[in-house]
Amino acid sequence: MLSIVEIDYGTPKATSKTTVELQVDGKTVRVPQGTSVMRAAAQAGINIPRLCASEMLDAFGSCRLCLVEIEGRKGYPASCTTPVSEGMTVSTQTPRLADLRRGVMELYISDHPLDCLTCPANGHCELQDMAGVVGLREVRYGYEGANHVYAKTPAGEANPRFVAKDESNPYFTFDPSKCIACSRCVRACDEVQGTFALTIQGRGFDSKVAASQDNRFLDSECVSCGACVQACPTATLSEKSLIDKGQAEHSVVTTCAYCGVGCSFRAEMKGEDIVRMVPNKDGQANHGHSCVKGRFAIGYASHPERITTPMIRAKISDPWKVVGWDEAFAHVASEFKRLQAAYGRQAVGGITSSRCTNEETYLVQKLVRAGFGNNNVDTCARVCHSPTGYGLKSTLGESAGTQDFDSIEQTDVVLVIGANPTDAHPVFGSQMKQRLRAGARLIVIDPRRIDLVRSPHIQADYHLKLKPGTNVAVLDALAHVIVTEGLVDEAFVSARCEPEAFAKWRAFVAQDKYSPEAMEAETGVPADLVRGAARLYATGGNAAIYYGLGVTEHAQGSTAVMGIANLAMATGNIGREGVGVNPMRGQNNVQGSCDMGSFPHEFPGYRHVSDVATRALFEKAWGVPLLGEPGLRIPNMFEAALDGSFRGLYIEGEDIAQSDPDTQHVTAALSAMECIVVQDLFLNETAKYAHVFLPGSSFLEKDGTFTNAERRVSRVRKVMAPKAGYADWEITQKLAQAMGYPMHYSDASEILDEIARLTPTFHGMSFDKIDQLGSVQWPCNEEHPNGTPVMHVDEFVRGKGRFMLTEYVPTSEKVNAEHPLILTTGRILSQYNVGAQTRRTANVMWHDEDRLEIHPHDAEERGINENDWVGIRSRSGDTVLRAMISERMQPGVVYTTFHFPGSGANVITTENSDWATNCPEYKVTAVQVTRVNQPSDWQKRFHAFSDQQQDLLEQAQSADTLGPA
């Protein structure tokens, strides 16, 4: 079912600049060439009846309801498949058309149940609407004959055509008795999502929809994106929440709080209750599509485990004590002041998260810099994309991706390195697949055979299956081919880049040691594949690079990012549509949290704290002197905690005890601190080490903005009151006040206004501007009042582009006899990061535990069978998971996800980190894998500790008569 507020124009918008004029029912309309007659009519306010057409899909022409008469043409063409032409005269309503349409509807209704009043789609069913529109008054065929509607024939026998409801998917049902075989669902799955999970089987009256090989939905290829549910004109495919709750009465536009695609949604509401989330057709990042997380996995927001009252305790072995907000604020303020008085101003700090809004992150760093008086603030982007910031700033001059998502429509060669868009950025993954099916070429650089390498109607031209940890070697080899085979775009380089740096770089990568042949032994990639990929990238037309954490989370993460920027500059693939360097951001607001100055060395807008003019600007605005020296990064905070100089930490929305590497080191550091304040929805892993818990609000309970991977700033809108009473920005503000630092925002918009005043790339940004334009890509200022889809157009942000030298340095994490395998980590579609949200939804039906993927050869050597418990040991620690034998892995490499805390994936990862930013080397850990029959010691301790903490929480809750049960 379509959104309750959207209008469907029937066929996709045409993009042509040439326009055509025609007459529809006597009205004159002018539309772009290539527009369908149906859409042209809709634009003139004339709705032609239709069933198989939808704006999200290509016209199909199967239902024959949208017939029209066109002067000078014979017959009754379908308006959805007929393009307009100059001077055309169309009649949409004639007696003959009315007859034909009634005939069509009569056939449909004769094989459809008549239980409209109790149907979940009642009032928003397109079949019902069409019956009304064409004036259907009787159905002459009766219901006794062949039908799909009734389980039994009138004689009481089983009806062979009847198929029972499929309720296997946790979020939607499929009721074939209501299906009109319009194939909108099939086409949505193919064209929009690109999964090809549905088919129409049979012909004519026998045709029916089936999920792959007649499986139940849950057992099929279906990834539960919901595109088919949205496309279905009847109640055949319906959200379970819609069936349970009935239809929404209002709808609010907001932004998904999961991944960096930043999909725009309409939250369809009944009062403060969400009936369903429908992706916004006008959403500029997602154009009406979404994935299973954003559309369906929102139940965590009302999960019973949410904590809604502040709590404090003196020691982590004490039960929690429920307190009022004022007491909690006063307690934190007095603790932090005490710690600063005893151990120095540097003894406390704060961590913000990519899950926070821009406004929240801005306030946390402001509280730290102005309220605590130091620069000890960091964000979880430290552990994912900090190398992107460093690498792109050094080469291009700005710490952000260069394009918008739609730029891919102009791309001829897509290069994906260390990213898995179909799992981690599903909606953009679908857009990428559309472009690939339409003919763009594809290069994948990844140790695993990710889905993109081969999926329906897509086959990568090159898959460079490199050994983990050799990204820079492969990038240098690609550069070597480009330089030595004369593939450099000399005109671009001489006009746009620093000549000395380029000359140095050219000589550097031209060295024989970087030839694909010389690198082959190191990278494991056959030289001819590298040469082929380099030639394709350099000469195949518009080439765009998409990269993810498989690039950044390495000891040479920053070097690899610079290597990527070098390739783009050398081939002139930057500064226009269809090209560019695109970091795929993991969490929803990674870009925003970095933009907002949450790194210890820089103010909002990536300005170093030592910059005198910037500091003066902030000192004046904030009314206090500010420090001009960088503060502690997250791993530095841990070290400082262990040596006793860092004692108090305010953490908003981040779960470092699960997400950061070398868990035992992290928990030792947390245990060494005196006052840890966690602001979150749940008692997460870090909160188990906390002394103060401040209950936060979900994205549904507050106002603010998120910035997605394409620098697009979109609104988050409050659709219900905060469950614990305050939006997160209000909590930070109250904390600041309690510390004696004044903050007096009455609304989140005032925070963005302050950011805009103080940040040149945000000068033109405001809630009003975003409301007007839907969303805005920064820079948004005097020069770019409506934002900037493509950056570095005429010149680079830093002026001239700078080539950086990128020597390949093998990681110190090496396999040896004791640890002969390489472990690399990643994520999957249905779960999100540490899983605190998605684990509390039905998404666990797709992924209920983290597994160790291992190649059959390595498994056999160790006597490991599918589902066996296996111990994984590194020099940091060990854990136990169940094995999954998989040829997606190369021999010698094992893989796991990190969505469940008890899996302990990060017990194994080491303290190794990127040289420039200390982003951890999650992607390469030397391990041994053996068959075992019991959990690891760490897991036993973990479970005992978790159980104890759960008890301490329950004690608090039973003591609190007003709190949640």
């Binding site: 120095g344 101003r345 140095k504 920053s558 020597e807 040289w915």
Partner: protein, 76 residues
């Protein structure tokens, strides 16, 4: 802080700049990186360590650390 961690991190930085053909630029690269991204406490500790011998620091790291200009100790 754990001095071994600081030494490893400083060496990682120096390793990146080793490839720079102009030695003075490389030394400045290390110094500048440490100054921009390291808390003064860590810089101070590393410099003091170097002054006591600086065992384990690679040559380019030694030179970069040597050139560090330390800010006065921040008051409480």
């Amino acid at each position: 802080m754990n001095i071994e961690r600081l030494v490893t991190m400083a060496n990682d930085i120096a390793t990146y700049f080793t490839v720079e053909p102009d030695h003075a630029v490389a030394v400045e690269g290390v110094r500048d990186h440490l100054t921009k991204f390291w808390d003064p406490v860590m810089r101070r500790q590393l410099k003091a360590y170097l002054e006591q011998g600086g065992e384990g620091l690679v040559p380019l790291a030694r030179e970069g650390v040597e050139k560090l200009i330390l800010p006065p100790i921040a008051g409480n």
